[in-house]
């Protein structure tokens, strides 16, 4: 199963390296979401306060598109079905695709968080840095798992372009909230202390564990209609 996961993840990452979609398209897109939103808000004071929320909002919207792409690869020529027909372990497929997705998300988040640290001159202390990294990892695991699970569910359906965001958006709300609050305290936004951030990690951890376990178990039955 782990070998399968490795094969699948390697395949997805190789395709990504070759097409550079994250670097050339998703990261600029996420940056744009942040900028657009800043436009809609149009107030510096407010912006500085909501920067952490924007980072995670942009990440979540990017997840929608990355997941769509990740499963478009599998369905355009019937590869997902071929994987099923070949008896490839669905848990391995799930883990592999989650792993590849998580790797791509980490890269995206590094850029977004990094940029907002610089842009908003957030004074991140050492402990804030640890909090930030932990937040990013937990949030990523959660997002990648739920993205893969629902991406697989929507993959065969018609209207999947619109079904996927409908299914994904409401479930990732806890990640948005938890990661935003944790990031705020890591940044010290609104004078929140770093220590206040840790409890939010509990939420993120529960989400990550829940969806990676449910995903690993349920991916097979869901995809294998």
């Amino acid at each position: 199963m782990l070998r399968t996961a490795k094969t699948i993840a390697a395949k997805d990452l190789r395709i990504e390296l070759r097409s550079r979609v994250i670097a050339n398209q998703v990261i600029p897109f996420a940056a744009l979401v942040m900028i657009l939103f800043a436009f809609a808000l149009d107030s510096d004071a407010v912006l500085e306060r909501v920067a952490p929320g924007l980072v995670w909002l942009a990440t979540i919207f990017s997840v929608l598109f990355i997941v769509a792409r990740s499963f478009a690869l599998e369905t355009t020529d019937g590869a997902l079905e071929a994987l099923r027909a070949a008896g490839v372990d669905p848990m391995g497929i799930f883990l592999g695709k989650t792993l590849a997705l998580a790797t791509q998300l980490i890269a995206l988040e590094a850029v977004l968080v990094g940029a907002s640290v610089v842009l908003y001159r957030a004074d991140v202390s050492a402990s804030g840095g640890v909090l930030l990294v932990t937040t990013a990892i937990l949030a990523t695991v959660g997002l990648a798992s739920v993205g893969t699970l629902y991406g697989g569910l929507a993959a065969g359906a018609k209207g999947r372009e619109t079904l996927l965001p409908l299914l994904l958006l409401p479930v990732v709300a806890p990640v948005l909230i938890g990661a935003t609050r944790a990031t705020e305290s890591a940044f010290g936004t609104n004078g929140i202390d770093v220590s206040e951030g840790w409890p939010w990690l509990g939420l993120l951890a529960v989400f990550a564990v829940l969806f990676s376990v449910v995903g690993a178990v349920a991916f097979g039955p869901l995809v294998d209609d």
Binding site: D77, A85, A86
Partner: protein
């Protein structure tokens, strides 16, 4: 090339494929309406019949890809509904789609599909060479291939597996004359080595000369054509 699975050697079952009165319903339509067919080891069975008769559905049913509403189907003595995962490990299916990743090269695709089922790199190289994919083509991304070259890649991925039961849905489609001959000789060799092969095809001359038996699928049922009862 073909590994005979333990179950096969133990002789726990009578037929490699044993489909009995199978009904498969696709969106309220009985794509299979009580189909029965048995296939034995080493046979190459040609399935022909009108468009929409249920050939594709029958092959997919043997791989556990469509839910069986009534009747039962077993492959190598394993029930395709309840022991689906075990069935699939012994089955190699090529359908109307090729299942290739267009951003990966030919070699990478064949290697990917080979490695998901644990084929050795020697087997993979042989498979590519047998389907005429060595040389210039092997490093081309699949996106740049012609239709027939893609089909060859998909077939090579299939050949790299050591399936006991080969389910081939119009495998010749898109292949050139030489490719057809190559494919036929691969299939004959596999059958001689103990594999069992089912081929759905409309090219009766070509596939008929390959097959050891010919059955027709008509309106969701299997009817015999030649060489004994279905």
């Amino acid at each position: 090339m073909t590994d005979v699975p333990a179950e096969l050697r133990s002789g726990r079952f009578d037929h490699v494929v044993d489909v009995r009165d199978v009904v498969v319903v696709l969106g309220a339509f009985p794509a299979l309406a009580g189909a029965s067919l048995t296939v034995d080891r080493g046979e190459i069975v040609l399935l022909s019949g009108p468009n929409g008769a249920g050939k594709t559905t029958l092959l997919r049913a043997c791989a556990g890809l469509v839910p069986i509403e009534r009747g039962r189907a077993s492959v190598l003595g394993l029930d395709v509904s309840t022991e689906r995962d075990a069935v699939r490990r012994h089955v190699g299916l090529i359908g109307h789609h090729n299942g290739l990743y267009s951003d990966l090269s030919v070699a990478e695709n064949v290697r990917f599909w080979g490695s998901t089922v644990g084929a050795s790199s020697a087997e993979i190289a042989t498979a590519m060479q047998r389907m005429g994919l060595d040389g210039r083509l092997s490093d081309l991304p699949v996106a740049r291939l012609s239709a027939g070259q893609r089909r060859r890649t998909a077939l090579a991925s299939l050949v790299a597996r050591r399936a006991s039961l080969w389910l081939l849905d119009e495998p010749h489609a898109g292949l050139d004359a030489e490719g057809r001959d190559e494919l036929d000789s691969v299939l004959r060799a596999a059958a001689a080595a103990g594999a069992t092969i089912m081929v759905a095809s409309h090219e009766l001359e070509r596939a008929g000369s390959l097959a050891t038996r010919h059955v027709r699928v008509v309106a969701g049922q299997v009817v015999p054509v030649s060489g004994g009862a279905a």
